[in-house]
Assembly symmetry: C2
Homo-oligomer: 326 residues x 2
DNA sequence: CCTCCAAGCTAAATCGTTTTAGCTGATGGA
DNA sequence: TCCATCAGCTAAAACGATTTAGCTTGGAGG
């Protein structure tokens, strides 16, 4: 339409008019015409030529889980600011799915991955590490693999919560955890165990591990035993899902909170606040975790060998469920 | 590596060996070598060549809202089965954002859009309709625009709930709605109003509209008035967010449910179930809405002029909060 | 008057596929 | 013996952009 070659148009529209000594008058006509016809470059062609896709992958266990959807929202917003598009997938805590999704996303040309690794994914993560593909672990990490990560300081989280319960006069404190080898859970367990031991309460350490995929029956069983046989006076749940399921069970068992037993949960939600005895919980700095992960990822993409590990500060939101005399 | 032309490799790997009369022996060698070298075609090049991106856009108001993240999960799974990738964005109920995101996604080459339109987006939707770009409205629709949609039967939803409350002996029933012109809300209001009128209770129709972006103060004010001045005996909330905020207010006001007032919410969540008086709510068939939207979209992409409007059945989950004598 | 240089532009290659047209050699029929 | 046919393959164009090398023109300098 302007009567010049595509090459010239490309140069002008990419702001390289000066660099290529394009005549001012011609450059102006090109820009004007481009605007008038609402020209938008074909990104696919651009990507093919440049080898860049401006795509990143976000693999979580389940995007319908509010924790991960909150993360996704922030990652997406930040990525968009940085001119990247996010592809989101869910693994359902399944290793085969995770492996498949990594392959699928790589094939789609993502330039980096934010990944919530599931149980048993150590080998996959090691492969990713060996390949030097820009990758950031989110929420969960492997202490033996030197990969970037953005996680909660899990040890401190349960340390904080246990100290709070001890401070309230609770001694016989139980923990409901997943049956897993994932380190974020192991750290949370250690934070609790160490704090109990340091307080001279080793005898009162109770850790119950439940099936991650169908936790409710295991939780019920554990709670029955802990309350009726072990006579615990406080229960800490290591994840939001465990806490929520636990509250259903405690209601069914007609256990009163905090009179019969104190409760501490993980990751607040409306159910915790609206509960008849609002639930004390460990708050993760979701914003920082999410933003940290995408910022690290983009840096890794732009500068190979960039690496960073974030362990972010938990916060204890103290409500009625953990206070002896509210 | 096999010593044949790229063309032949392409034919074989796309399963067109027979069609192009490729020798069996050669075809076998190509497949074998492709596997051995872990060949995966470059999707960007494929897309450029074919003009297809296998991308669809999903524009919701907020992906961190559990309703929409549940939708996103299902859409994503179904799209993946159909060999499409979903690009998700959030508008925050803002028209300018919506317009921008539509442009961004179109520029990224999505072949279709699933869209939750916000207040005031009628013109945008009309443009989309006029352009014949494959588009499906989700959750909300425009009766005057003949665009595909996948929504709840909103009228029936509140009709069902109002009838239930009337059946329980409640008469002075109030409604908390958004201050909006969006038809899904207007339909919900009509379902309530008509049912009240048909029962001869026009005098007891109370509709309060609150600000969609900062509803809590408005809700508090409305509730104070409805309960203390109008002496309503039941309150229906038109969305999950309204109901959740409403419960916070009712707790603050020390109103007992259902003794002082009955409550019906929208879209169940753990908070409703764990509430001291579990909340009766209208359940949307999320799975059907989500699956419906993506299935319609893909059909529209494959067959231009395909159109379909779904109005899916609500279900009332009756719990303690709406029963006079539980 | 010729040479040289710079300014301002274009042609062509390239990215990795797919598809169309066409080439080659063997076979069969007349 | 010669042509037609067909199986089995390849060359080349195309998708839409970017980039490199190179072309033309006019003016300055010798």
């Amino acid at each position: 339409m302007v009567g010049v070659s595509p090459a010239l148009v490309s140069m002008v529209l990419n702001g390289k008019a000066a660099q290529y000594r394009i005549g001012e008058e011609v450059a102006r006509r090109v820009v004007k015409t481009a605007n008038e016809m609402h020209y938008a470059p074909n990104l696919v062609a651009k990507n093919l030529r440049s080898g860049k896709t401006q795509l990143v992958g976000l693999i979580v266990t389940d995007i319908s889980n509010p924790f991960y959807s909150a993360i996704a929202r922030i990652v997406e917003d930040r990525a968009s600011e940085l001119n990247y598009t996010v592809l989101i997938s869910s693994t359902d805590e399944n290793l085969k799915n995770t492996e498949r999704l990594v392959d699928v996303l790589l094939n789609k040309g993502v330039e980096g991955l934010i990944l919530v690794p599931c149980d048993g994914s150590m080998k996959l993560i090691q492969r990713l590490y060996d390949s030097h593909f820009p990758t950031v672990l989110l929420d969960r990490y492997f202490p033996d693999i030197d990969l970037s990560s953005s996680c909660l300081d899990n040890y401190k989280a349960t340390e904080l919560a246990t100290e709070h319960l001890l401070g309230q006069g609770y001694k016989n404190i139980a923990l409901i955890a997943y049956n897993t080898e994932m380190h974020h859970i192991l750290d949370r367990i250690s934070g609790y165990e160490d704090t109990m031991k340091n307080a001279g309460l080793s005898a009162y350490v109770h850790v119950r591990k439940v099936n991650i995929l169908n936790p409710k029956p295991d939780i019920r069983e554990a709670l029955e035993e802990l309350i009726h046989s072990e006579h615990v006076d406080a229960i800490m749940f290591l994840t939001n899902m465990l806490a929520t399921n636990g509250l259903y069970c405690l209601n069914e068992m007609n256990v009163k909170i905090p009179d019969d037993v104190a409760v501490v949960g993980f990751n607040g939600n409306d159910a915790f606040h609206l509960f008849y005895s609002p639930i004390t919980y460990i708050r993760q700095p979701i914003e920082q975790i999410a933003k940290g992960s995408i910022d690290i990822l983009i840096k890794s993409i732009k500068k190979s060998n960039y690496k960073s590990k974030l362990f972010l500060e938990p916060e204890l939101v103290i409500q009625q469920s953990s206070q002896r005399h509210p």
